[in-house]
């Protein structure tokens, strides 16, 4: 029966090519617009570290006070003094401080021009906390942190440039003229959004080239290559006075496995801030936050407004296309009232009429979906018009998007056909047959 209805559907579609084309185009445009904008939205709003996003937290401490903080919210990073205090307290199972550093590498010794290398100064816990994959070697140890060791983990890309992709563990890299021993080479790793550094990035930058010990970077008085935000009167002129200033530039992360751990750490933060108040360093009550990965992404508005607005507009567009389809299907089905009456008079049940017309609508949806797929493919390759390149390249037409496009097109069309098909099934045979 299904294939017979399908056949009937095809015949009816061919019978009225203009109306059919109109419906198919409307569905195709609607579903394509939605899928294109959804592919971008999906890419930017995803969970960058699904299996650990609920156990990774970034602590915030209000070191600026109610008059200078972000409308009641603490600054988005830590100053040096608070960062050191959290680091030494070591109140979490794993923790890391981090900030961006920019350096240069000489790929071919003195002959070549230097290359820029962007990386992070981090603690050794960074690698297990964020599940960084390794091609060769591993991260460094806690002892290396304490010893302020001159070690470095480089990315697969930098390893390719410097060592032709060979196992470079134990070899030496010269960064800004200082030698570092390579202890590991990461696999291709660039979580998007880059949840762990939303203070200095928008979340969609190119992968980092290297990672070095935070303690070592401080020893070398390495200025942050990322953002720096200060309040009040600025008076620092030396590295030491800069460290004592209220400027925030260090992002902390901790790993807390259970709700009890989270509660304990939250208490620790509150107590720390309260202690600072008692000591006279803060002239305000304790104001701290402990956000996990998804809360942090949300708070930092990682999803660009463009992505959300365009998705909303596209969905609205799709709804209009569906309303349009309901109207056209209604016209198409009721125009065949005579035919329906004959079938009903010959013994077809309402249910059969209903099924037949829903299947016919399904074929329209399928055709719209296929055409929509073509539009989606064109659109996805053209999202560079709307989004900056680092976001545009995230939008991809993969198997799931193809499936979703077809599924949405068919489901939506069948849904739109419910009312017209119901009307068709309720055509009064006697009425129609009489007047003919």
């Amino acid at each position: 029966m299904f294939s017979y209805y399908l056949q009937l559907g095809w015949r009816s579609l061919r019978h009225n090519p203009l109306l059919t084309a109109l419906m198919v185009m409307a569905i195709a445009f609607g579903v394509a617009a939605s899928m294109i904008t959804y592919s971008v939205f999906r890419a930017v709003s995803g969970n960058p570290i699904p299996d650990k996003s609920t156990v990774l937290f970034t602590p915030q401490i209000d070191s600026w006070g109610p008059q200078q903080n972000l409308q009641g919210e603490p600054p988005e990073a830590l100053n040096y003094v608070d960062a050191m205090a959290l680091m030494q307290a070591h109140a979490a199972k794993r923790q890391t401080m981090l900030y961006q550093v920019q350096m240069s590498v000489m790929p071919g010794g003195e002959r070549d021009l230097p290359l820029a290398a962007n990386g992070y100064a981090i603690g050794s816990d960074f690698f297990p906390m964020f599940e960084v994959p390794f091609e060769y070697g591993s991260g460094w140890s806690g002892q290396d942190d304490d010893a302020r060791a001159g070690v470095v983990v480089i990315s697969a890309t930098l390893n390719q440039k410097l060592f032709g992709g060979a196992d470079s563990v134990g070899r030496t890299v010269s960064l800004n003229g200082n030698d570092y021993r390579v202890v590991g080479v990461t696999g291709h790793w660039n979580p998007k959004p880059r949840f762990f550094d939303l203070f200095s990035t928008q979340g969609f930058e190119d992968a980092s080239d290297f990672y070095m010990p935070f303690t070592r970077a401080l020893d070398l008085k390495m200025r942050t290559g990322g953002r720096n935000s200060c309040r009040g009167k600025l008076a620092f002129t030396t590295w030491e006075s800069y460290l004592q200033s209220n400027c925030v530039w260090i992002t902390p992360w901790v790993e807390l496995d259970s709700a009890a751990d989270v509660a304990r750490y939250r208490r620790f933060l509150q107590n720390y801030a309260a202690d600072q108040q008692h000591a006279g360093r803060f002239a305000w009550a304790s104001n701290v936050r402990l956000r996990d990965v998804m809360q942090w992404l949300d708070y930092e508005h990682v999803v660009p407004a463009e992505s959300r607005i365009s998705l909303m507009v596209a969905l609205g567009f799709f709804v209009i296309c569906l309303v349009n389809t309901i109207g056209l299907l209604l016209a198409k089905f009721l125009r065949r009232a005579g035919e329906i009456s004959v079938r009903r008079a010959l013994g077809a049940t309402r249910r059969e009429i209903y099924t037949q017309y829903l299947i016919e609508a399904g074929t329209v949806g399928l055709a719209g979906g296929v055409l929509g797929l073509v539009f989606t493919a064109l659109g996805v390759s053209g999202v560079g018009v709307l989004f900056p390149p680092q976001i545009a390249k995230l939008a991809q037409l993969d198997v799931s998007l193809v499936g979703l496009t077809l599924l949405v097109a068919i489901l939506a069309t069948v849904l739109a056909a419910f009312y017209p098909a119901w009307r068709a099934a309720h055509v009064q045979p006697a009425w129609q047959l009489k007047s003919n």
């Binding site: 409307a26 820029a116 365009s310």
Partner: protein, 412 residues
């Protein structure tokens, strides 16, 4: 015309579903088209923001140092670099800078009138440069004077220096001293000592182009500081008229001839202002294009939908039309019947649509900090959609008008 409204309403009651569908489609289309037009207008006005820079001739070099150096060492190199750049035959002038208009991101300092003021008066984008900066940017002084060479001091990485003199944009001058007396007055910008306004420039855009920094749009201060940051700096270069390409070719060669221990990224280390502007307003342009496309397709689909449904109605009512014609109705009567019917549905649709448009806008105001929509857009949308409806209904209505009175007698 007016005498026909009552029978039309009666007839529409018999076609509730079709009527509601057309009205709904018109309403939704109006709501989206109004807001899309509004977004287009906003984004296009961003695109035309003035940078205050002589964009045809200026380019920017992002220069990173490859080895660690002390501030005096960096400063000596910067001075030598600038001398080399200014001596190029194709170059008019060059200046060191910590940032430039439309760069993206930014450096801004809060501004207060007294050193102990708790609540800042306002916020301002901060640029640094030497006595060549204004000429290099092509910025015009509207009052006061430029920096003197002896006022410019080097600034190392994260070293706070509050110079005693400052040049401000007219917007900042007017914001701080609305009576126009800014020249010679002083203010505080996150320092313990004041800076005195010695010059006022016409227009200068802040570094960022984002919504967040829009609150201090146009408010700019320039300090006489020569960037001597061990990490790097920007060289802003103004070519002689028509020699931009030559200058962009020669400048990096001149710098590498000075010292090879530097990084000028091959991909985006040198950008002319066309590129700077392009990447600054990329998403604005994209948004305007997307909204434009959506508007056009949406209007086309709505029009096609009206044609489709009206054609169906005409087909359904051929007999009634025939009867009316036989009873003496003219072709004009039939035509105006369908036009009026569509107008009635359209008016209902746009009434709902206007409310919907306003509520979508209110939602976007709260969600995306967007501006309130002007009623002009809603009014334009209403007129466009009513005209579109009348246009779409014209062809089926004319077909209806051609129905011959004979049809009344057929197949009864």
């Amino acid at each position: 015309m007016s005498l026909q409204i009552k029978p039309i309403l009666v007839a529409l009651r018999r076609h509730k579903a079709g009527t509601v569908l057309i009205a709904l489609q018109i309403a939704l289309t109006l709501a989206i088209v109004c807001n899309a037009l509004f977004i287009i207008h906003q984004r296009l006005s961003n695109l035309s923001q003035a940078s205050g820079v002589d964009e045809a001739n200026v380019f920017v070099i992002r220069n990173q140092w490859a080895v660690d150096k002390t501030t005096p060492q960096v400063d000596a190199q910067v001075k030598a670099d600038l001398l080399a750049l200014r001596q190029l035959p194709s170059v008019r002038d060059a200046a060191p800078a910590s940032g430039y208009p439309l760069q993206g991101g930014g450096w801004d300092n809060y501004v207060t009138m007294t050193p102990d003021q708790a609540e800042p008066t306002t916020d301002a984008a901060v640029y640094t440069g030497d006595e060549h900066l204004l000429d290099t940017l092509g910025s015009r002084l509207v009052a006061g004077r430029n920096f003197r060479a002896d006022e410019v001091v080097p600034q190392g990485a994260q070293e706070t220096i509050i110079p005693p003199v400052v040049i401000v944009s007219k917007a900042l001058a007017d914001r701080l001293f609305p009576d126009g007396s800014a020249l010679g007055k002083s203010f505080y910008a996150m320092g313990a000592t004041p800076s005195t306004i010695i010059g006022i420039v016409d227009v200068l855009h802040r570094q960022g182009t984002d919504q967040g920094s829009n609150i201090y749009a146009g408010q700019v201060l320039i300090w006489p500081l020569r960037a001597a940051d061990a990490r790097g700096l920007f060289y802003i270069v103004r070519a002689k008229p028509g020699q931009l390409a030559a200058a962009m070719r020669e400048a990096p060669k001149a710098l590498y001839a000075q010292n090879r221990k530097r990084i000028i990224a091959p991909r985006d280390g040198i950008q002319d202002y066309a590129q700077v502007r392009h990447s600054a307003f990329d998403s604005d342009r994209g948004m305007a294009i997307l909204m434009g496309v959506i508007c056009v397709v949406l209007l086309a689909i709505t029009a096609a939908g009206i044609v489709g449904l009206t054609s169906f109605w005409v087909g359904q009512r051929r007999k009634q039309i025939g009867v009316r014609r036989a009873l003496g109705a003219t072709r004009g009567d039939i035509l105006s019947y369908f036009l009026t019917e569509n107008l009635l549905i359209g008016v209902g649709g746009v009434a709902v649509g206007s409310l919907l448009a306003l509520s979508i806008n209110l939602w976007m105001v709260s969600e995306f900090a967007m501006a309130r929509i002007s009623m002009l857009y809603v009014a334009t949308g209403v007129i466009v959609l009513l005209l579109l409806g009348q246009g779409a209904v014209l062809a089926p209505a004319m077909r209806a008008a051609r129905v011959s009175p004979v049809e009344a007698t057929r197949s009864v």
